[in-house]
């Protein structure tokens, strides 16, 4: 199992959040956003920590990390993947979060080839939950011809309009098998 862990030091707000993995094509940090990252000893877990404060609006990006060779090989062979979103705050009204890979310019269209999956939260339930998104073979597909990976999350309402307030969460974990 390969697990890439993307940590947010403070709860991040998903409005259009891009998390870059890979030095070769790191997205430009947005104004006001700072980040650091580190690969764990076994090279199979990569933690990206964002200094984005809770409630940040607009694009939040982390610094880039090199995807270790072993992790890259496994990621390319993975037939399924899951993005685990930890500590998601229950919104005041339903919000969907669209997940795109290697597409920092992604908008709210699931017709983009970079679209990989989504999750939705309703306005009731526990205050914080851990959500999971099935990405299928999208990660392997995204890494087929390149060695870096970025994740862009776009929060939309039930009319598919971007949600200005976003959706707060604590951490992302990409689990490849």
């Amino acid at each position: 199992m390969t697990v890439l862990t993307i940590l947010s030091g403070a709860p991040a707000a998903v409005v259009a959040l891009t998390l870059g993995l890979g030095c070769a094509a790191a997205p430009r940090p947005a104004a006001g956003a700072q980040a650091s990252c580190a690969a764990e000893a076994d090279g199979m877990r990569i933690a990206l920590e964002s200094a984005a404060p809770a409630g940040t609006r607009g694009t939040v990006r982390t610094a880039a990390c090199r995807l270790p060779e072993a992790a890259l090989a496994r990621a390319r062979a993975a037939s399924s993947a899951v993005l685990r979103v930890e500590g998601v705050r229950t919104p005041a009204s339903p919000v969907s979060v669209l997940v795109f890979l290697n597409d920092p310019q992604a908008d709210a269209s699931t017709r983009r080839p970079s679209y990989a999956g989504s999750f939705t939260l309703l306005a009731e339930g526990p205050a914080k939950i851990n959500a999971q998104v099935a990405l299928g073979a999208a990660v392997a597909h995204a890494l087929r011809e390149r060695g870096d990976l970025s994740v862009t999350l776009v929060a939309v309402d039930r009319e598919d309009r971007p949600v200005a307030a976003g959706l707060a969460f604590d951490r992302l974990v990409l689990d490849l098998r």
Binding site: A77, S79, S80, V82, R84, P94, S96, L101, T110, R111, P113, S114, Y115, A116, G117, S118, F119, T120, L121, L122, A123, E124, G125, P126, I129, N130, A131, Q132, V133, A134, L135, G136, A137, A138, H141, A142, R158, D160, D175, R177
Partner: protein
């Protein structure tokens, strides 16, 4: 109608339900075993085991055949106007709506069970959303609700809960609209022409998940099915469906959750296993069992094995005009021009289900699948129309001859074709059999039909 209550009303009160279930009594839960499990299943029908082909072409271990024949649920698309099934469904719902809200067999009472256990359930119960409780609790909820529904029309065997296959049926069924229709809910924020986003209801990515923790959740995590298509459809319909406290008041809730349950059923059919941890299997919840006229409890371990099966959805079955022998290329029309099978380009590439294909007894056979007519044994897999392949090998003599299996073949390159301009033309699939390398003979097999799974 009796369902027209303000959202904060609770006609079948929380106290009424809890008192009936014994949850308010000293000592808490009644420890009786599930009535559902105690009921003798109907005569089991033969079940063809499901097997899957992984990305490298290997066939996953076969799952032992199970006897799941007591209740068969059908695609709501088969509940057409004038059909006995739709008439019975409407009669049953109207009968339940006409009952006093304090009646355990009334519409509101049943709907409020969802309210109680989805937000602030009493001790010792946990919230049944956003964890591994989600699938098993809702399976049991559907089971006991379905018994109430059937009881309302004299237990007519033609009525079982329909499922709404929102993967390909992108509209909320028209049969659920209409001012005087008991299946209507005036709070919905969609119309008969509103369409779901098929990229958010595709299930092949979910069916590829190897663990229940990912698919159905864990003690601390919601599963991908719940926070994926399940929540999306609730949000899309909205109105009562937007809130756990009111969701089950909308009749579409039951067809939606029957489909969620069907996806779990399909995931199990592909050889994936449910938790064996007693922390999951041993959890019990109370429900009203109309067949015994009393409250019972059922464990998740028992709920997972309730004898429910799902008939294939309408529209995904590819007619082959009878059993086809694979001794030469076989071409079938998978989708008519403008067919609506529409899936995400990468995340959910879709799969082909080859129903009741023989396991060869004489020699191996490889089959390449091309998304066009005219492909032959000489057509290379580098051909742009190549979308997938599988290989079948003779059964091991130590295990004896094997009957037919249902084979799931991932079609990694099919989805981009469906999203392209070619989707406007009929989609043909050609299955090209060949001998495997090193074998002069090709195995002898035939299959019953094909199904496309977005």
């Amino acid at each position: 109608m009796s369902n027209e209550h303000a959202p904060n009303e609770a006609p079948a009160s929380r106290r009424q339900f809890l008192a009936r279930t014994g949850a308010l009594a000293a000592g808490g839960l009644v420890a009786a075993r599930s009535a559902a499990v105690a009921q003798p299943p109907q005569a089991p029908a033969p079940v063809i085991p499901e097997v899957a082909v992984d990305e490298s072409g290997r066939v996953r271990p076969l799952r032992p055949a199970q006897q799941l024949a007591a209740v068969t649920r059908y695609d709501v698309a088969t509940f057409t106007e004038g059909s006995a099934q739709l008439t019975l469904l409407r009669q049953a719902v109207q009968t339940m709506r006409n009952r006093a809200d304090s009646d355990p067999t009334s519409w509101m009472y049943q709907a409020n069970i969802h309210n109680i256990f989805c937000n602030t359930p009493p001790a010792p119960y946990g919230v049944v959303h956003y964890s591994w409780r989600f699938l098993a609790w809702h399976r049991a909820y559907l089971w006991y609700f379905e018994k109430v529904l059937q009881d309302a029309v004299g237990n007519d065997p033609r009525l079982t809960l329909p499922y709404w296959n929102w993967t390909t049926e992108l509209n909320l069924p028209a049969t659920y609209f209409g001012a005087s229709n008991p299946l209507n809910d005036p709070t919905r924020q969609v119309t008969p022409t509103s369409k779901l986003d098929p990229r958010r209801t595709a299930i092949s990515g979910l069916l590829a998940l190897p663990t229940f923790t990912q698919f159905g959740g864990s003690a601390s995590d919601a599963g991908a099915l719940e926070t994926g298509p399940h929540n999306y459809v609730h949000s899309w319909v909205c109105g009562d469906m937007c809130r756990f406290s009111t969701a089950a008041r909308d009749p579409i809730f039951w067809a939606h959750h029957a489909n969620v349950d069907r996806v779990w059923y399909l995931w199990n059919q592909e050889g994936n296993t449910n938790p064996t941890d007693t922390a999951w299997t041993g959890q019990t919840y109370p429900f009203y069992d109309v067949t015994q006229k009393k409250n019972v409890t059922i464990s998740f371990g028992d709920a997972a094995q309730l004898p429910v099966t799902y008939a294939p959805p309408v529209g995904t079955t590819i007619s082959t005009g009878g059993r086809k022998r694979l001794n030469a290329p076989v071409t079938v029309q998978a989708l008519p021009a403008g067919g609506e099978l529409d899936v995400a380009p990468a995340a959910s590439a879709g799969s082909l289900r080859v129903v009741a294909i023989d396991v060869p007894q004489d020699a191996p056979i490889s089959v390449n699948v091309f998304a066009r007519s005219g492909a032959t044994a000489q057509t290379p897999t580098s051909d742009p129309s190549f979308v997938g392949a599988f290989t079948l090998i003779p059964t091991d003599g130590g295990h004896g001859a094997h009957g037919p299996v249902n084979l799931h073949v991932p079609l990694a390159r099919l989805a981009p074709r469906l999203l392209s301009a070619e989707a406007r033309t009929p989609l043909n699939l050609t299955l090209v059999p060949t001998a495997t390398p090193g074998n002069s003979r090709m195995g002898t097999v035939s299959f019953e039909r094909l199904e496309l799974q977005p």
